[in-house]
């Protein structure tokens, strides 16, 4: 299934104000992979994500999503196959009710109206938010907002899911439930985050970005143990991999 791959080839991006945000990034993400993109604030994670569904186009280098190169002309196809969940759910959920927001994408894609209803219900059930269907979006709790935000993207049945900081601002319970939910998805997943414990749970592969270029790319279990590497990119070893401060013993990596 070649259409679920993402291939970046030496992409550079410079903002109009002259800031050189990406300085030659290359990787290949294949079908069904779950990849974490980590790095310090301002390292270029968000800029990179915006490239993956054609919102920004590289100033230099090439990017392919599935069968298409990412250009202005193919942006329509790209958006359909790449679902992007933004960091702040308040930016993502702009329609008045949960129903309308989840239906927004499918309606724009031109699904027949009679199919919309079932699609919305089904997606909300998937994320465990079926009871919220008629609620106004601004009245949801933080955890509920995340779930609905993910549903708004899932309702378009994307092949690839991109999530920007999905666990920020969540209480530990909501965070745990979200991680479990994401674990049930079989999409190709790309997650930009600072939450390295979540990375251990969800992503077998990690890409570290530092000042616009790739510092490391490999198996999460290895990268997240490399303290020197993590320190260099303003990160810290996941708590679970650190020695227990009380008894000094190391815990197991996987539950």
């Amino acid at each position: 299934m070649s259409h679920h791959i993402i291939k970046a080839d030496e992409i550079h991006f410079t903002y109009p104000d002259g800031f050189h945000a990406l300085r030659g990034i290359s990787f290949l993400i294949t079908h069904g992979e779950s990849v974490a993109i980590v790095g310090a604030n301002g390292a270029g994670k968000s800029t990179l994500l915006l490239h993956l569904n054609g919102l920004l186009l590289p100033t230099q280098g090439g990017l392919r999503v599935g069968d298409y190169p990412v250009t202005k002309e193919t942006a329509h196809h790209i958006k359909r196959s790449v679902g992007m969940v933004f960091q702040n759910p308040d930016d993502q959920l702009f329609m008045p009710t949960v129903y309308d927001d989840v239906a927004f994408g499918p309606l724009n894609l031109g699904f027949p109206p009679e199919e919309i209803n079932g699609r919305v219900q089904q997606t909300l059930e998937t994320v465990g938010a079926a009871h919220l269907v008629n609620r106004p979006t601004h009245r949801l709790s933080g955890g509920e907002k995340r779930r609905v935000a993910i549903a708004t993207v899932l309702s378009m049945t994307p092949d690839i899911l991109i999530l920007d900081e999905p666990t920020s601002d969540l209480d530990p319970g909501a965070r745990r439930r979200l991680i479990e939910l994401l674990g049930t998805f079989h999409h190709t997943k790309i997650i930009a985050t600072h939450d390295l414990d979540m990375v251990l749970d969800l992503c077998e592969r990690t890409i570290i970005i530092n000042e616009g270029s790739i510092l490391a790319d490999g198996r999460s279990a290895e990268i997240l143990r490399d303290e020197a590497l993590l320190k260099k990119s303003s990160l810290e070893k996941p708590l679970r991999l650190q020695g227990c401060p009380v008894c000094g013993k190391k815990k197991k990596t996987r539950r």
Binding site: M84, D90, D91, V153
Partner: protein, 257 residues
């Protein structure tokens, strides 16, 4: 206010268009009375009372809101007794001037119009009203504008409140609260808002936004709505044509004489 509109009562289930039109007819009837006509207004209270009680809306809450916004009307109305001192009526031996009658007339109208508007929104919801406006021919851009405004109202108000708190915690004796700080503070909020709008636009484009927003309508204008609208319209017009208060009063007086 908004939460009230998510209750499920028969009034809430009516098509918003029916409620909106009925309310507009109501308002036109109420304000079309002459300024000295006070008693004619009382029968109209039945409409807001109906909305409030059938819609299961806390009446005290609506009343409190009416009182909160009354100062402007009060300010203008209070001049009527001063400028209009011709005695037009007597209650017992007390002369009542036209100014006082029109003063009470204004305040009664005020209570009626504001109360009904609040009751309408409480049993319809802002979204319902927007939907109705759109289906009644309001330009789509404007309907979408209303929806977006309403959606981000809460977000930005919270943001402003946080900034305000941050400023006030570090301002002492009016230092720090002047125009010099105000400009950058508001400006920052504005820039953040513009930034937010850009992010929202991105989120929209990601989900296939092409310039038009498709809104699904859930209500339909059926028999119930026609009956609702017809009944109230006839009632409003009857109240406009006959002074029900006086009729009732006469009946009462005759009963005991």
């Amino acid at each position: 206010m908004d939460l009230l509109s998510y209750r499920q009562t028969p009034v809430h289930r009516f098509d918003p268009r029916a409620k909106l039109i009925a309310t507009l007819i109501f308002l036109f009837c109420v304000v079309s009375f002459h300024k000295y006509q006070l008693s004619n207004l009382f029968p109209y209270f039945i409409f807001p009372v109906y909305l409030v009680s059938a819609g299961d809306i806390p009446a005290g809450y609506i009343m409190k809101k009416i009182i909160v916004v009354s100062p402007f009307a009060l300010m203008v109305a209070v001049f009527n007794p001063i400028f209009d001192t011709a005695v037009v009526s007597h209650v017992g031996h007390l002369g009542v001037t036209g100014g006082w009658i029109s003063f009470f007339s204004i305040m009664t109208r005020f209570a009626l119009t504001v109360g009904t508007a609040l009751a309408l929104i409480a049993c319809t919801g802002f979204y319902g009203i927007c939907n109705a406006l759109g289906r009644l021919g309001m330009p789509r851009v404007f309907v979408v504008q209303l929806l977006f405004l309403y959606r981000y109202l809460f977000v930005l108000v919270e943001e402003a409140a946080r900034m305000l708190r941050a400023r006030d915690l570090r301002s002492f004796e009016n230092r720090g609260r002047g125009l010099r700080v105000y400009g950058p503070l508001m400006g920052t909020l504005l820039l953040r808002s513009i930034d937010r709008a850009q992010k929202i636009h991105r989120a929209m484009v990601c989900r296939g936004f092409d310039g038009t927003i498709r809104i699904t309508g859930t209500h339909s204008f059926g028999m119930r709505e026609y009956v609702f609208l017809a009944l109230w319209t006839v009632m409003f017009i009857c109240f406009r044509l006959w002074n029900v208060s006086v009729l009732a009063g006469d009946f009462f007086v005759r009963l005991f004489s």
